[in-house]
C-alpha cells in the first residue's frame, strides 16, 4: 500500500472527473468540485487528467507515504508541509518512503487537490473512482489508519520524472524533446492548465449565469435581485449544493412543479426564495423551479467558496 491515512481531517475524499451518463438511473455525476485544480495536479505529476486524486476539505489531512511517490497539490492555498518543511503548491514534489505530508487550514479557497504519480488506486465503479456523497456510491471518505494504493506509472507518458519539481510553468510544448530519460521534461502531449488563484475569502467571487428553464416562474424583479445583490454562502453548503443567503427571490407561479431533471450548476429555488446551486453530488431530479444555471466554467470557483464568502452572479 502506498499511503497510510494518519488523520483524514474534516473530510477527505477520492475524486476524479466524475461518473457521467447515469443520471437517468438516479446517479449524480460526482467528481472533483474544482475540476481544473485536480486536472492541474494530475498533469503536474504526469497523470492523465482523469486520474483519481484526493479532495481535501479545509486541510487537517496527515498522510504517511509507505512507498516513494511524486505528488502535487493544487486548488486551495495554505501551508502544506513534508516532514515539517513547507512545500510549494502547484509543483511536482518527490516524496521519500516514510515521509509525512500535512495540510494546514487553507488561507484561500476551501479544497486542496492532491495528485500522486500513478493516481490513487481504488476500484472503479461505473467508470469512475469518485465518491458520491448523496448516493453513497464510490469509496468511503478517508478514515484514520486507512490505506490507499497508488497506481502504476505509465512510463513515457509523464510530465516529470525523477526531479524535485516541474520546471517553469511556461515551458512550451516539446521543450524537453529528446532529453533521453525525460528528466525534468515537459511532455508535448499535455498542455498544463493555467494556475487559477483560489478565491480570497474576503472578496466576492463572480459566477456567470444563464436564464434557467423556469425563469418565467419568477417576477422580473427576482432576476434583478439575483444578479444585482451579493449573496453569502451558507455554512450548510456541501458537495450536493452551495446554499445561498440574501434577499429572497419571489415566485409568481405558486403551483407545484412536477419533478424534473436537474443539471449541475442549477439554481434551484424553494419556497423560501433562497437558491441552492447544485454541485457535483446533486440529486438528478427535483421539484423546485430553476431560475438560472451557472456556467460550467465558473463552477470550479463555487467549489472553492468558503462559508460566509460573498458571491455575485453575472447575468
Amino acid at each position: 500500500m502506498g499511503i497510510v491515512v494518519v488523520n483524514p481531517g474534516p473530510l477527505t475524499l477520492v475524486e476524479d472527473l466524475g461518473r457521467h451518463g447515469w443520471a437517468s438511473l438516479g446517479l449524480s455525476p460526482s467528481g472533483a468540485l474544482d475540476r481544473q485544480s485536480l486536472r492541474l495536479a494530475n498533469l503536474l505529476v504526469g497523470n492523465p487528467a482523469e486520474a483519481a486524486g484526493l479532495e481535501i476539505l479545509l486541510g487537517g489531512l496527515r498522510l504517511r507515504f509507505v512507498t516513494a511517490s511524486t505528488v502535487a497539490v493544487a486548488g486551495a492555498e495554505g501551508i502544506v508541509t513534508l516532514n515539517g518543511a513547507e512545500i510549494p503548491l502547484n509543483q511536482a514534489v518527490r516524496v521519500a518512503p516514510g515521509a509525512v505530508l500535512d495540510f494546514g487550514a487553507p488561507l484561500f479557497g476551501l479544497r486542496y487537490y492532491l495528485a500522486a504519480q500513478g493516481g490513487i488506486d481504488v476500484p472503479k465503479l461505473l467508470g469512475s473512482r469518485s465518491t458520491d456523497m448523496l448516493s453513497g456510491e464510490g469509496p468511503a471518505p478517508l478514515k484514520p489508519g486507512g490505506q490507499l494504493g497508488i497506481g502504476r506509472v505509465s512510463v513515457g507518458n509523464g510530465l516529470v520524472s525523477g526531479t524535485d519539481s516541474v520546471p517553469g510553468h511556461g515551458s512550451g510544448p516539446g521543450a524537453g524533446s529528446g532529453a533521453g530519460a525525460g528528466i525534468g521534461t515537459i511532455n508535448s502531449a499535455h498542455a498544463l492548465p493555467a494556475i487559477r488563484r483560489a478565491p480570497d475569502p474576503g472578496r466576492a467571487i463572480t459566477a456567470r449565469v444563464d436564464r434557467g428553464p423556469r425563469a418565467d416562474w419568477f417576477d422580473d424583479d427576482s432576476w434583478r435581485r439575483l444578479v444585482s445583490q451579493e449573496w453569502t454562502l451558507s455554512p450548510d453548503s456541501n458537495r450536493i449544493g452551495a446554499r445561498l443567503v440574501g434577499r429572497p427571490l419571489t415566485q409568481t407561479r405558486l403551483e407545484e412543479l412536477p419533478s424534473e431533471g436537474m443539471v449541475l450548476g442549477a439554481l434551484q429555488v424553494p419556497p423560501s426564495g433562497l437558491p441552492t446551486v447544485f454541485l457535483a453530488d446533486h440529486p438528478v431530479t427535483g421539484g423546485y423551479p430553476v431560475i438560472a444555471v451557472v456556467r460550467r466554467a465558473d463552477l470550479d470557483l463555487l467549489g472553492q467558496a468558503r462559508p460566509g464568502q460573498r458571491i455575485r452572479f453575472l447575468g
Binding site: 451518463g21 443520471a23 437517468s24 438516479g26 434557467g212 428553464p213 412536477p258 431533471g261 436537474m262 443539471v263
Partner: protein, 218 residues
C-alpha cells in the same frame, strides 16, 4: 428570447450552456419521446449522437445534457426537435419480470382503501403491464405506471423512517420497488429478492426507464 421553440407537442427550454429541458404534454408523451431518443431505452442509447451525456426522463420533461466540446448546441436542438416518439413496446425497452411475495405490512389496508379484496389487488398488480417512466429518489428506484387507475392510492400519512430493501409499494399513480433501505411513505404490499441496483455491474439497474415490467407471485 430564452424560450427557444414551441411546437404543438414539445417545448425546448434552455438549461445552461450544456443542457436542454424538453417539456411534453404528459407522462405518456415523455415515455414515448424518451424511447424515441434513446432507442434501446438505455441512458444515452444507440440513437443518441456522440457528445450526449444523459437523457433524463421525468414527470413531464426530458432533460438532455451534452458536452459542448463534442457537439454544438444547435445540433442537439435539431436532434431533439426532429426525434420521433416511439409508441408502445415495439423494438424499444426490455421486458423485466419481478417476483414478488405479496404480504407487505400495508397489504390489507391498501386493499381496503381500494375497495377490493387482497387477492383481487394482487391479481390486478400482477395482471397489469407496468412501464418504467423515470428514476429518482435513489439510484435504481424507478417510477412505474400502468394504463388504468384502479391501483391509485394515497401515500401513508406518516412515512416510515426505514423501508426495507426490496419492498414493493404503491403511491399515487405509481408502483415501485425500493432498491435499498431508506425512509419512505409508499404503501408496502410485498417484497422481492431481486437485486434492483448493483453498481459493480456494467448494467447496474434491474429496471431502466423505458422498460416494461411485470410482477409475478413468487
Amino acid at each position: 428570447m430564452w424560450r427557444l421553440n414551441r411546437s404543438p407537442d414539445r417545448t425546448l427550454l434552455p438549461c445552461g450552456d450544456s443542457a436542454f429541458l424538453v417539456e411534453l404534454p404528459g407522462l405518456a408523451a415523455v415515455v414515448a419521446y424518451y424511447r424515441g431518443l434513446t432507442g434501446a431505452g438505455t441512458s444515452a442509447g444507440v440513437s443518441a449522437p456522440p457528445g450526449i451525456i444523459d437523457v433524463v426522463p421525468a414527470a413531464r420533461t426530458v432533460l438532455v445534457t451534452f458536452d459542448p466540446e463534442t457537439i454544438r448546441p444547435s445540433e442537439v436542438r435539431n436532434w431533439l426537435e426532429s426525434a420521433e416518439p416511439a409508441a408502445g413496446v415495439s423494438g424499444s425497452g426490455r421486458e423485466v419480470t419481478i417476483e414478488v411475495s405479496y404480504g407487505g405490512p400495508d397489504l390489507a389496508e391498501t386493499a381496503q382503501l381500494l375497495g377490493m379484496s387482497e387477492a383481487e389487488m394482487v391479481t390486478l398488480h400482477t395482471g397489469s403491464e407496468w412501464t418504467a417512466a423515470f428514476s429518482g429518489f435513489a439510484p435504481g428506484f424507478v417510477y412505474l405506471v400502468t394504463t388504468h387507475e384502479r391501483l391509485r392510492v394515497p401515500r401513508r400519512n406518516t412515512p416510515r423512517t426505514a423501508v426495507p430493501a426490496g419492498s414493493v409499494g404503491l403511491a399515487g399513480e405509481f408502483s415501485g420497488v425500493y432498491p435499498r433501505s431508506s425512509p419512505g411513505g409508499w404503501q408496502l404490499i410485498g417484497t422481492t429478492t431481486a437485486a434492483l441496483w448493483d453498481a459493480s455491474k456494467a448494467e447496474p439497474a434491474a429496471i431502466r426507464p423505458g422498460d416494461l415490467v411485470r410482477f409475478v407471485e413468487a
